[in-house]
Symmetry: C2
Subunit: 321 residues, 2 copies
């Protein structure tokens, strides 16, 4: 079964009782400055702090007989799988490399998961997961290359289109491609005139290169980028064909663009959004006048460990959602 | 064992792995307008959407052998107990009157609780809970009259004082008195010079009358007020003495004040805070120049079911946290 709109609508019905229908937030003075109708889809306010809960829940709810769930994650997907498993009163194991950020580990633990990290590296983590699956019988929830996960992420697109006039374009950060595949599938079914635009850091441009060459390109090594949630080295076998079929354009931005967009969004929203959420906004905020009159930017997550830059003299510690 | 600072510090250590250390948000232009140093403790960004998770978790984590947990709640406490129980892989039952708001029921269910509401009224709900406790063996988590719950809520006070210069006054909404009892206990131990001021709607002024008469006063019927999370008819046997001992003042505000404060805060924060959160801010926003030079207002929750008033043309549905 391919991921189609029916699968996304079914996912929405399935997960709606457990997720937040996140608001569309006005671009306010940023919109005025850009002279476009700008809105933000506030997935940083989703439970567990990112859109990842949608896909993880859609996968978990379809496996009621699983003994537990296991995932590989450097953060948001792990938190989502932990939360989804806990909600179903099942155990979750999240495999994280031993050199993972301590705050990311604490985040995943805070939602009830057991962390396996001793001796785990980026190179051996898939083997570790396979061993865990075999010894425990837990079901794997892949962060993006799973039709149930893609369908779950697609519900972001349904909500954007149900909550206002369809924008001319929707901007989405691209890592493994689960979020943009789902959103593009929903949008092309519901309002094909809306363009879906993927955004990558220049240093992690595998999806942009795959899109233009129509060949699945992989990076040689995990990229260094501020947008640390899109360090995936290549698209998945399921997300790549959807990207080719449904996405309208891919653009890349510099690290400077991401940093600048992040600073502008922190000041505008006064909330602790992640640099990866700012990635999707960078093409609009940092380039010459945008080519669209209306846009929605998906702000994918808010699990950022540095203090929020608000105007308070207080040191805001928001390690969490 | 009475609730003292040691119990609150122990609660903080116990619950910290599972809660958000919520930020102190600057009063921005509201502070400028009032010409005071104003900050907001953003408990509407706490997991489950309110501070109630702190107390519920502190109680649940001390009962690892309970078969499950049961609570009576019209909303936020139910969500908190549901979440805390789920995190411990235990079942939760929340007793809600049959005429409860459908969105509040959905909120509590969304965190994994079973709702018992058939035939439940405000009058018989305590009996229903007793029956459930006896038939299931589940442990009751009271919304405020429990030392573990009070100690958990007190961690809000620790965080306020750890995150910036101690304010001259902290404003807190008062229902059953669990939040203010905990905060006042922490504040009087850590920085006694900071005044702790309780705020009630005029129509629900039992705590203010109890405070001034030094006799526990009960309302005759549940009050009608916009601040629907403080419709408790009287303080608890545990919270009343703490209020008398540690709280510096009680003030009441009109429904008009609450509505005006709510509108101002929605516009200022762009977030879906509850009217009950605005209650605590009403004395500062709607009266003649405040008598304090610096204040922190505890914005206790964000589970409000009407659309957020932002500047977007989108209909934001934020039924959730």
């Amino acid at each position: 079964m391919a991921v189609d709109y029916a699968a996304i609508a079914a996912a929405h019905t399935r997960i709606q009782p457990y997720i937040v229908h996140t608001p569309l937030i006005s671009g306010g003075d940023l919109a005025e400055k850009l002279r476009i109708n700008l809105s933000f889809k506030a997935e940083y306010r989703q439970r567990t702090g990112s859109f990842k809960l949608r896909g993880a829940l859609n996968a978990a709810l379809q496996q009621p007989d699983a003994a537990g769930f296991v995932a590989v994650s450097s953060g948001n997907h792990g938190a989502a799988v932990a939360y989804a498993a806990t909600l179903l009163h099942k155990p979750a194991i999240v495999v994280m490399p031993a050199d993972s950020n301590a705050e990311k580990i604490a985040l995943v633990q805070s939602f009830g998961a057991r962390i396996v990290s001793d001796g785990v590296t980026v190179a051996n983590r898939e083997d570790v997961v396979t061993d865990i699956q075999q010894s425990t019988g837990y079901a794997l929830i892949h962060p993006f290359n799973d039709e149930r996960v893609i369908a779950g992420q697609g519900t972001v697109g349904c909500e954007i289109l149900s909550d206002g006039s369809p924008p001319e374009a929707i901007y989405v950060a691209v890592g493994g491609g689960g979020l943009i595949s789902g959103i593009a599938t929903a949008v092309k079914a519901l309002h094909p005139g809306t363009r879906v635009i993927g955004v990558e850091p220049e240093s992690a441009n595998d999806a942009a290169r795959s899109f233009s060459s129509r060949t699945l390109v992989s990076l040689d090594a995990p990229p260094e980028t501020l947008a640390d949630a899109v360090r995936t080295m290549h698209l998945g076998s399921l997300t790549f064909p959807i990207l080719l079929d449904k996405v309208d354009a891919m653009v890349t931005v510099t690290e400077e663009d991401i940093a600048k967009a992040h600073e502008m969004l922190l000041a505008h929203l006064g909330e602790n959004i992640e640099p990866t959420a700012a990635l999707a906004c960078a093409p609009l905020l940092t380039n010459t006048p945008p080519h669209v009159k209306s846009a929605c930017v998906v702000l994918c997550g808010g699990n950022w460990s540095q203090p929020a830059k608000d105007q308070s003299d207080a040191a805001a510690d928001t390690s969490g959602s």
